[in-house]
Point group: C2
DNA sequence: CTGAAAGCGCTAACAT
DNA sequence: ATGTTAGCGCTTTCAG
């Protein structure tokens, strides 16, 4: 390439990186040669020399969770907009071994944890070594690690508040796993609002299981077994609510006339007619943008205290709660 | 690392790569030091020296298509099982510029095209330069490029055959975009079976649009406007069928009593009670496994003719067609 | 402002 | 069987 342009290797580097002052004539020579040859600098050589890879890794453990594609789409767009490549690790191990190895090998400059489950050790290992780490949509109050998340606890609180404001006090709830971040936070928020109102829920109406259609279905069947029916049911994830609504429908229970149902996540699917589900929309694009901003700042050497950013969710009222009985 | 183990750099390399014979005592020395230091060889240096990155790229243009997560999950698992890293490019440009740049920079050894749309130019550029390229779930009869895909045309043929075998001859169809691979192939197969039976479909009952719930909904509304209703409707994607079923339901049309509906893809969601959709299941895991096998062979230097592998889909009969009117 | 040269951390050829 | 050495393609001093 330097030969083709008739200049030194150093000049090529200077032109391509735009750092130093180069004579316009030489610059044009280099750029012509680059166009001619479709030249792209070798990433390994550059990375070895600079100790930067211009690549981030994303740790994902739940690609099949219907919540994930939106987040992945947003994250990859943000990365692209910043000239960063994305390594995707489909890894459910809490140690995040693929991330550890890639960081140790210098393959990535930073790591986004998008995994739903609480993989403390993997994050600790990286953060402890000073590697730029970003937690998206995972609250983790005590850890000195950057994190951007929608305010799961507030959305739980607001869901309960919405039920109570509309006079629905005989309530049931269906939650996802306790070893994730979002679901327990929503539980805490929901319970807090109930406590304020002095309302309690019997254990058999406070169900915990997986984040899945199947769990929602099973929960629906279980809740229908006892009378009187709840006036309102909160699900910690839309996909759970889909299963619940399906079970209610299969048993001939009218929503919202007999029971209100509210989900959480704001999946596009929640607007589909058979569900028409009231829910809280998560600001996924904002999470990705702000999170990536922060990660890039860390990779650029920012040494300030970790940020913990909570973004508000937006209540979307649809047919599953809209019409009073 | 060589210093820590008290041996030469070359011996370290030999132990870690396991290629050459090394004295067991020295080997143990090296391995002890590696455990001690958590040493991982620098990926850039290795890559520069070997001109291999042990990384593949995946070109994806439709992360939000509900079909995609299963494929991505399967592909990343297969890659991990082979010790390959995965760069994900969320890129809807037909030239696949991110893939071009990464290949030119030596960042990847091979490229999987998982994009639904027909991005001919990007594939041509890579394949023309002899880069290992794999097309998953995209038929491309004429191109000298490896490809593994479910047999979209056969699944269309079988869907029509199923309708006709059950005496459903007043048929409507709802397809996805013509500039993709899967949908037109399904169209061709479906039409071929109809032609064999001498059955034709009026243009207003042969709808083409996007692969989306919304298109399915709109198609449903359009098809309901004319009487008599079709006896059976084929959708080229499950997600279209979801919209169609929703529209039929909203208009009080009974499925399957009044109309049969069949989808295509075999999404897990198609089993959900509100849809209970007959469909063709794509062998996504097999596609990923066989495709990755082939790509790895190419990256290993295989120079034989491109493979074009068609995998059969499996008809799943559910409530949307099961019960005769 | 430009070129020459060193060196990033590996692997492979060569020498022992 | 092991060590020594060259060199992959860049960026960055350092001279000029």
């Amino acid at each position: 390439m330097a030969r083709a342009a008739g200049v030194s290797q150093a000049t090529v580097s200077r032109v391509l990186n735009g750092n130093a002052k180069v004579d316009p004539a030489l610059r044009e020579l280099v750029e012509a040669a680059r166009r001619e040859l479709d030249y792209v600098p070798n990433a390994s050589a550059k990375s070895m020399r600079t100790a930067k890879s211009e690549t981030i890794g994303i740790v994902a453990s739940e690609i099949l969770n219907p919540y994930f594609p939106r987040l992945l789409d947003a994250l990859t767009r943000e990365a692209r907009g910043r000239g960063l490549s994305v390594l995707l690790w489909n890894d459910e191990d809490p140690m995040a071994p693929m991330a550890q190895a890639a960081v140790a090998a210098g393959s990535v400059d930073g790591v986004v944890f998008a995994a739903a489950r609480e993989s403390t050790q993997g994050v600790d290992l990286l953060a402890g070594r000073g590697i730029p780490v970003m937690l998206v949509n995972r609250g983790w109050r005590d850890k000195p690690v950057d994190q951007v998340t929608s305010d799961h606890e507030a959305s739980g609180y607001q869901a309960a508040d919405y039920f109570l404001r509309h006079g629905r006090e005989r309530i049931a709830t269906v939650f996802g796993p306790r070893d994730t971040f979002a679901s327990p936070a929503r539980e805490i928020g929901f319970r807090r609002r109930l406590d304020e109102a002095g309302i309690s829920i019997a254990p058999e109406r406070w169900l915990v299981g997986t984040t899945s259609y199947e769990h929602g279905w099973a929960a629906g069947m279980a809740l229908l077994a006892a009378r009187p029916l709840p006036e309102a049911i909160f699900c910690s994830a839309d996909v759970i609510a889909f299963g619940l609504l399906s079970a209610l429908g299969a048993q001939g229970v009218q929503v919202p006339e007999e029971v209100w149902v509210m989900g959480n996540d704001g999946l596009p699917m929640s607007a589909w007619q058979p569900f028409d589900l009231s829910t809280h929309r998560q600001p996924v694009e904002d999470i990705a943008r702000i999170g990536m901003d922060r990660l890039v700042a860390r990779m650029g050497g920012a040494h300030d205290d970790p940020h913990r950013i909570l973004l508000p969710t937006e209540l979307i009222v649809r047919g599953s709660t809209a019409h009073c009985a």
